[in-house]
Each structure stands twice: as structure tokens, then as C-alpha cells.
Symmetry: D3
Subunit: 248 residues, 6 copies
């Protein structure tokens, strides 16, 4: 399962190039939401809730289709130095909007919107401690919360058929000192030349790929190596989701 | 330690009229903040962080005095039905502003601003699960986070002398079906005739009193009974703070 | 009617500890509103209007109940140094929101919402000159405007039965140089150790109590003394309201 | 002093075509501002204050020149039906911005900015009762407030020489049922075909002319007639200003 | 066609006092809008689009009448030094609101709102290069876009009868070094003593007159001279509109 | 240069799978900006300006480094149905922020920030007509505007050495009915299963890759085919940039 990498480079985290951080998924983390999951990718901790609402946005009214949307936030001191509270500043920043759009798009791929009926599931991903990879942890955790919320909907007879099509997982990959590595923590992320967030389904196919050469650039060979690392990582993440959900 | 109340009334929570919920204070709850505490009043759970900044608001520049300020938020699904995210709506609501002003005023009473020097401590109280009494839990938890942040400042030699003057605790009291009761949970709070938030110091003296007759009104006798319950409750809360902080 | 206080303290206003400022209530102050009152507590002057609207907020639609809500503002130069205009800054500050929430809650206690029917009365309290106690003057004046607006509604047959349950008055009390005093003006308020706003009905019972130890703290004995002063003051204020309204 | 108009048309206000409403200017209306004037054009009542600040906007720093700026607002129930409060809506409307820009431009014409030095005078015009012509009343009243504020500045030795160059007055004119009329009240304004606001100095020369054909259009002859009415009206307004200010 | 002016003054643009800049009207400039015109007044270039919507604002619902409204914007670098983007600042400035209100009012005069039926035409005027007179160019160009949009509505049978009552043109006039001049460019506008924007219909009658003495003042004689220049200029502008529209 | 694709699929645009639309780059499109380019990808038209400012954001002050930032907007009627104007709505949407962040990041790769010195180049990309691919056209056009602005800086001696490191181009690729295609227009983009925006430098290496499976998902083979198409397309785009800039 390893990818050949130059032996000499050591990651700040001491992990192997293709090694995820400790992943934990705690279901039923808070009591009110239909789905509520604490997801931990090492020291990155995000509360993901899924809330069911019996209505849809205007553009879907009368279509018989449902919707999944997401919001993302960071507690002001989830980070090393305190960030301004977005509610106090009076607007969400560009990074926040970008991330919540990504989470929403990614998780919409999990459901058959016709089977969901005219219901909306709102995913809230709130970072309580950040150490890199908050958006990939959010997607991975929100998928489990979504699954639980769908379970509640079935139980409450709000829907007749299970709309879940597939599980969705996400991880970051990057090039750190020339070496492709999996699941970057903050120390690695902030010095990586390239940073890529990958979203895949449980069949190992791509839903989203977003890569940035923060410094320098990358070629197709590096892209291929990163994609392979991502594929391995997401396979493990989806296995962890299955285990948390008690799926065989 | 009991207050005479009509024997026949039972609280929804089955607690005695003068009984607090289970109180828990978990220090060092997240890793980045100088002070970080998870406070639990029964099912009400609030993350309180204290962040140190080496500057003061404009009106204090050059005075040699420090400042303590607070911000408060609720995760959208900390409540029974999902609330709009304030960052997405583009402003903090009146209730939020009112609560964070109360937290700030209350905790400023804990410190000698001259000994704090031209530093600001920002308290963030973020409710991850709400079941009544979020503002009183926030004040009680934030006091411990503040204490820890001051400890870090002393350690880092940012200040020479300990500016802590006193510990501050807070609890709600109310009149439920005619019976004065301590520490209302959501079920009690939403049906109480009168709801009062009391903030006290460790000498049992008042810092803030805020009471509202949601339905009906109250007289001086009831006010007195509520104040006595509050005094007992806050005494216990401050004992719990001392224990959590390892103070004799 | 006097409260024993140390003989040596003199209030900046030269008033006795239990003495209100000159109170004036001018009805029909402006011509458009259903109720329009200029209230003066000494140099504090507030225009209070009550506007009737034949609808209710969404959460009351179909319940048969009415609503009372309030907004508060200060003219930019109602104060010693000019404040920014909130409309120009693009938002109402926390103090404004806190005060208008207090006014609304207090005056809702004056009416039987079932008798009001699905109508809303909007109270606007605009301070044209500030000298301490603007929120208590606002509540006291708005009650008279509300009364007049209800009269117009009865006249216009918008309601059948008078929904007024009770008159509401409000005054501040505080501890100035150790002495409990009534109805603080700006000079007193800004140096008082404790400042308390009390709202009562015409039966002398409490609707709201909001007290802050700006400097130091206070004990139950002081609280009791302040409550007694407030009770005396509000009794006089409600007598003044009755007189203005031509009630026996 | 009359202008020939068709004898048969009667204004709703019963006034002659060239007749102003009752004009009143009450100086020292509120106590804090350097200049404070209640201006009344009939039932239109505006509080105009002038506040002195010892600084200038960034674009004037270091130029030795001063600045005059204006803000305008209407109390929510200054009008027949209640308007939303701009502070609560979170922004000033286009009409408000247009009016306050007009007031500022007009009154800047009153002063020699070099003699004002690097000081700013902020004019606040707050309508407490509206009956047409609020912007022209505001300009006329603000001029007197400005004059008083300059007097305070001279007294306090903030400036050495009087920067007042000229008095400024303003009035509306319009075409009502084909007849040019002076100083329209609300009933006339809302049915006039053409509405024009004119600002002039004490030499009878134009500072601003803003005319709109709300319905239809107008020709040069009508423009000329309206200008003549405006000239007469403003001459009287400036006489009233002089009288109020005790100028010979 | 000339107006007597002092022979010695030369305009920065070298134009005669009564000479327009080169005027160009390019229809069908972009492909999506029902009307789309690039208007050029010399170096001032504005894209004017007219968009048809099958609804009206709330206050017109059920009246059978239509509406015309306008929005105005400047590209950040349409000017000599870059302006902040209004969308990024989070609000439109006072000048923008004032201009778009003027454009809307002016073009509403072009149509019979009853014949328009319950439809709205939205005019967007976006300045891509500014050199003075952007608002007058916008009105002149938007009139042609409006005409084209009405043509599309007739073609699509959205309306039965042509609602166009008259063509509308607009130009600025001013007093430059004592000389009344027509159609000021930026160099002239920024040094003119008086600046006036005039809107007229194709019968040579006034729709709007907005004049400001930026420096100094002006008298009735100058006003008359400016009006005459405006009348000549707008006559030519409307001839250009006719030619562009292929009207005889 | 062709990629093997199923022969039977025809693109709505009739173009070959690997065929760009007509590309045009018009320099000096408007007169004020240091760089001003109209870029056309078929019917997609974007005005890109580059504005030079002699300062940097706070986080770069004193570092000797420069900055490049971007803003993006669409004229309201650049699209088939009119979009709300972001300035009027009071905020930029998530899509806008996402795109302008992408443009900024991409073009920062073009420059050596040390050679730029403490200067900022602001890129404004304003879409006047949209037909798919507005962000890739913006990046491609803004690179030429940036180049021109650097030329002006060298001419004006604002910098000593040319900071341009490389040219940057961008194009979209997608999977349309199973066939990988280059440079999607609106008709193709709105029905494509996968949509990918690729940014590359003039050495054919990746700067950014952003791919979304709007419907379904994609595998590594498809990713590879899309990357090859992008590489071919961007090579041609950069050749067109060179030609426009007169580079050999």
C-alpha cells in the first residue's frame, strides 16, 4: 500500500507519506440534531450536524426534489491566534463561502434528490479545533451525520425509500519538500508547495479535485502520485465511516 | 440549606427547588487558547476560551489599564430546531449582543485592570448544546478560562502581578408554578413566570441582577427568595470552580 | 417617605435621595401618530410615539393575539459629544438593542394580547436630549403613548374591549458614594457604584429589575433599599401618568 | 410682491401662491450641541444641530481647510404612516443620502473653509414631524445652527476670524394645477406636477436648483415664474434668520 | 445656433461653447439584453441595457401599471485612479444612488405606464470609461435601450400597444471661467464654477433640472443661458437617437 | 494533436473536442488603467484592467514584497436572465468570491514579489457578456493586463527589474456526453457531467486544478484526458498572449 518516496524526507508529523492521522468519528455527539458527529483527523476537530427541514429552496418548489446545503464556521479560537468572529464582522469571508460551497456540492453527490422528496438537509460543520484539513474532515464527518439524519427520516416516515446513493470521503494531499504526502496537518500544510483537496465516493471515483500550487507548480506525474495517495486515504476513511455506522 | 417551598410542586427536572444540575468544568478543552474550558450545566454545554492580546481598545491606549471583552454564539443546531447562523445572516441578534455585554461586564469585575496592564483578554463563549441557562454557564465557565489565561500570562512574564481580584459565578433562578427554583433548564425556563440571572462574586455579593416577569409579575418577597437561592447556588458553583482550578 | 441615609452626602443634583427630577408628560406632541408623548425627566427628553398596524409578526398569525414592540434611538447630538448616527453606521449597537428589547418586554405587560386582537403597536422612543435615565423615561412615556393609541383604536372600532391591564412605570436607582439614590441624572449615573433600572406596574409589583455594579458590588441590604426607593418613585410616576391621562 | 396667477385656483392650504407657511426658528433648542435650532415651516418640524469637531476628513488633512457635512433622518412616525427605522434596516435609503448630500453642499457655501481651519462642523437634521419641504426647512434651520456653532468657536478661541461668508436659505416651489406656488406642504407636494427645491444666498443668487416634473413637464416660462417665487420666499426666510440671530 | 460668449475663453477641449462631444450610439452591443446600447459622449462610454421582467414592485401589483427602474455603476478603473468596487464595500454610495434615482425618474417620463401593463423594465447603466457627464450619457443611451426593449416586447406580444410617449435626452451644462458651456468633459467639469444636468423630452420641455454652484453662485441670467445651451444640445442628442433607431 | 474520442458525439458548438473558441485579446481597451485588455473567448467578453498602487496590504508592510489581488464582477445583464447587482444587494456572492480568489492566486504565480517591491497590482475582471468560461477568460486576459501594467511601472521607474516570471493561461475542460472536450461554452457547460478549470504556466506545468463532477463522477483516465486537452489549449492561449504582446 506504500508509494515509493525518497527515503530521506521526514514529515513534521513523523507519519509515513501515505499515513492518515488518527481518525475518529463520534456519532450522537450533541442531542438535538437529527445527525450529529464529532469528526477528528488528529488534532482537527469538527462538529458536524445534519438538520432536516420539510421544505426546499424556491427554485425546487414543486419539483418533487430535495436539497442538501452546508454551512461552515470556525470558533474564533479554534486556531493558533484568534480570528475575528464572522458574525461580529457581519459577513462570512471568501474562504468560508468557498468551503461551505464545496461541502454542499460534495454531499449532494451522496443522495438521490428524487427519493429525498421536497425536504432539505442542512449540514453545519463547526470547527472547534483546527490543525489542517478542516474542510476534508468536515466532508467526511458530515457524510456520517447525513446518514444518521436520513435514518431518522426513515424512522419518522418522512421518506419512504432510502435516498443514500453512496458514501463520500475527503482528504488532502500535497507535495512537501518534493514528496507527495497524505492528509497534511497544519505544520505540513503551511509549508507544502502544493495542496490538493480530493473528494471521492465509495467506488473510488472522483467527485471533486481542487489543487493549488501555493509555491511553484506541479506536473502530471506529481498529480498522478497525489491522486493515488488520495485514493488510498479515502478508501480508509470510508471504511472508518462504515465501521462507525455499523455497516458490514 | 433548603428554602421552604410548597411541598406539592414537582419540577420537570425532578430536582429539589434549590438543587443545581450536574456541573462540570473541563479545563484545557481545546489546545490553542490560553484558557479553554468546557462548562456543563446538565445538558447545557459551552466552550469558553480566553485569548490574550497585547493591546487595548483605543479608549484605553496610554492609560496603563487592560480590558476584558466577551463574544457569545450558539452553533446553529445547539437548539431543538435549527437557528439561522448569525455569520450568514450578516449580523448578531439583540439577544446575542445583550448576553455578550453581560458576560463582558461580569468578568471585568474579576480583574484589577491596572495590574492587567495594556492587555486585552477576549472571552469566547460558544454554545454547542443548549438546555437553558447558557449565559450563566458561560459566565461561570469563562471565569475559569480567564483564570487559566492569567496563569499563562504570569508564566510568560507578560504581567508581573496576578490581577485576579475574585472569582465570579452565575446562575439563573425563577418562579415556576409559584415556587422559586434554582438553575432552570429549558423545560422550566420556557414555562416559568419569572426568570432571573444573577452574577455574584466569591464573597457572596452581587455583580449583576437581571430579572424579568415573562408572565405576570413578582413582589419583594419572591425577589428575596430568589436571591437566597441564587446565593446558595453560586456558592456551590464557585466551590466547583475552585476545585477545578486546584485552589484549596 | 424618606430612607435613612448618611446625612453628609450631597447629590450633584442637590436632590434628596428619594427625590425624582421634574417629570413632565406632554400628550399629542406630534400630529401623525396614534399616540405621541414628549416625556421629560429633568433634562432628559424623549419623544415616544405609538403606531398601530393591522397585522402581527409571523409567529402570531392566526392566534388571535396582538403584539407590542419597541424601537429606541438617540439623535446624534442628544449627548455631550456627538455619537455616530446608527443609520449611517449601518447597524444598531448592542446598547440600543438591549434597551429596545427592555422597552418592548415592559410594555407588553401593560396589555392583554387577546383583547388587542391581531394588531401590532409599535413604540418608537427617540431621545432628543439625554441626561441619564433615557430608558426609564422611555418606558414611562411610551406607556402613555400606548394608552392613547389604544384609545384611538377603540374610537375607530379596531378593537371592542380595552386591552389595557395596568399602567407601567420605570425609574433608575443607584448607589452614589454609598448612598442609595433615586432617578440618577448623567452626572450621578456616570459616577455611581451601582446602577439599577426597575420597571413596575400600578400595583407596585416588579416587571423587570436590571442592576449592574459598575464599580464594586452590592449586598442584599442595598438591593432592598434601592427597591424601596424605586417603589416610591414609580408610584409617583404612575400618579403623573394618571394625571396626564385625566384618570381619576 | 405678487406674481400674476390664474385667480380661480385655490391651494389646499388656502395660502396665496406666493405665501410662505408660518416660519419659526427656535435657537438653543437642545442643550448639548454648539448650535441647536428647531425650525418649523408650518407643521414641518426639524431639529437641526451643529457639532464642532477638531479634525477634518482624510482628504483635507494638512491643507489648513475645514469641512461642513450633514446627516438627515426622519423619526419613524414623523409621517402619516410609520416608516421603517433606517438604523434597524441597516442602511440609509437613497432619498436620505440625496438629501443629506444636498444639505452639506448648500451649507458649505456659507463658510470660508480657510478661515474655519482644520475643523469639521457636522449638521444633523432630524425631522420630528413632516408636512412637506423637510429638506428646505433643514437647510434654512441648519444655517442658523451653523451660525451659532461658529459663535461658540469664536468664543472658545477655536478660530480667530469669523468664517461665515453669507446666509443660506431654501424653499420649495412647484406647479400646482398649472399655477406656480411657493413652499408646498404635503397635500400640495403630493399632487403637484412639478416640484423644485431652490437654495439661495443672502444676495439672491442661486446655490442649488433641483427640479423634477413628477407628472408631465415644464417649460422655461414656468421655470422663470418658479424662480421668482423662490427668490421672494428665500428673501423672507433669510430675513427671519437674521431676526432670530439678532442681526440688524 | 451660437450663444454670445466672451471671445477670449478657450475650453480645455477646444470645443465651441455650444458644441457637443462626438456622440455615438451603438445598438445591440451585447447579446442577452432586450435592449443593449453602448453610448459614447467623447471618451465617456457607458453600456446601457434594458431588461424586461413580467412583474412589478409590490406597490403596483393589481394596478395594471408597469414600472421602469434604473441601476448605475462604474467599473473600478473607469476613472483616473481606481475607485473601490461598491459590491466589495458592501454598499452603493450616495452619488450612485442619486444618479440611479435620476435615471429612473427621467426614463419613466418616456413611457405610458398603463400601456406597459404589469411589466418592469430594468435599466442598467455601467460606465466602462469615464470622462465627465456619465449620468447624462446614461440617460441618453438608456432611452435607446428602452426603445429597443419595447420593440422586443411588441414582437413577443407581451404588450399590445406601444407605450413610448416621447424620447428623452440629457446633457450637462456649466459655467467655465464665467462662460456658459455645453457638455462638460472631466477637465472642464472639475474646474467649472457651476454644473447643471438637464433632462428634456423631444418637445424641448424640461423633465429634470439639477444645478449646483460648486464654487460661487449663479444668477438668473446665467441660468437662462445654460438652459438655452442645454436645449440646443438635447435637440441634437435626440436627433442622434432618432437616427440610431432608424426613425425618420 | 487530437485526442481519441467517440466519433459520434457532436458538441453543441460544432467544435472539435480539442478546439478552442475564437480567442481575441484587445490591449489598451480603456484609457485610464495601467493595463486594460478586452478578452474574448467566443461570445464571452471580459474587461480586465490592472491598476498599480504604491502600497501593500498590512501583512506585507516592511517586507519589501509586493502583492497582486483580483476582483471579479458580472454586469447584471451579461447573462441570459438579469442577475441582481451585487453592489445593490450589499454583498458579493460565494461564486464571485471564489472566482476572484482563484484569479488572484493564479496571477500571483506570474510575478516575483520581491522584484515588484512594495507595490500592489489590482486586477479587475468585469464580464460584459457571458457565455461560459468567464473565470478562465479572466485569468488569461488579466495576465496580459498585468504584463502591460508592469511595462508602465518599468517606464515610470517604479521598479528597476522586470518581476514577470512566466505567463499564465487558463481554460476549462469537461466531459460532455462522455466525451472530454476543451473550452466549454454555456450550452456545453450547463449540461456537462464534469467541469474542470485548469491554470498553467508557459512551461506547461499546473498552477491550479479545480474539477467538479456536477452529475456523476469521473475516474483517473478521464482526468488524464482532460489534463491533456487543457495542456494543448493553454499552450495555444499563451501563444495568443505572446502574439498580442508582440513577444517573439
Amino acid at each position: 500500500m506504500s508509494v515509493s518516496t525518497p527515503a530521506v524526507i521526514t514529515r513534521p508529523s513523523q507519519r509515513a507519506a501515505n499515513q492518515l492521522r488518527d481518525i475518529r468519528l463520534t456519532r450522537h455527539y450533541t442531542k438535538h440534531a437529527e445527525g450529529s458527529v464529532l469528526v477528528e483527523f488528529g488534532d482537527t476537530k469538527v462538529i458536524c450536524t445534519a438538520s432536516v427541514e420539510a421544505s426546499v429552496p424556491r427554485f425546487l418548489k414543486g419539483t418533487g426534489q430535495g436539497w442538501v446545503t452546508a454551512e461552515y464556521g470556525m470558533l474564533p479560537r479554534s486556531t493558533g491566534s484568534r480570528m475575528d468572529r464572522e458574525a461580529a464582522r457581519g459577513k462570512q469571508g471568501g474562504r468560508t463561502l468557498e468551503i461551505q460551497r464545496l461541502i454542499g456540492r460534495s454531499l449532494r453527490a451522496a443522495l438521490d434528490m428524487n427519493l429525498l422528496g421536497e425536504n432539505t438537509i442542512k449540514l453545519d460543520c463547526d470547527v472547534i479545533q483546527a490543525d489542517g484539513g478542516t474542510r476534508t474532515a468536515s466532508i467526511t464527518g458530515a457524510c456520517v451525520a447525513l446518514y444518521d439524519a436520513v435514518g431518522v427520516m426513515l424512522e419518522r416516515k418522512l421518506i419512504k425509500q432510502n435516498p443514500i446513493k453512496q458514501l463520500i470521503g475527503s482528504v488532502s494531499v500535497g507535495v512537501y519538500k518534493g514528496m507527495p504526502v497524505l492528509d497534511l496537518d497544519y505544520a505540513e500544510d503551511s509549508t507544502a508547495e502544493t495542496d490538493m483537496n480530493v473528494v471521492m465516493n465509495d467506488a473510488g471515483r472522483f467527485i471533486e479535485v481542487q489543487g493549488t500550487a501555493e509555491e511553484g507548480d506541479f506536473d502530471f506525474g506529481q498529480l498522478q502520485q497525489m491522486m493515488e495517495l488520495a485514493q488510498q486515504g479515502i478508501e480508509q476513511l470510508i471504511a472508518t465511516q462504515r465501521e462507525a455506522l455499523g455497516l458490514s
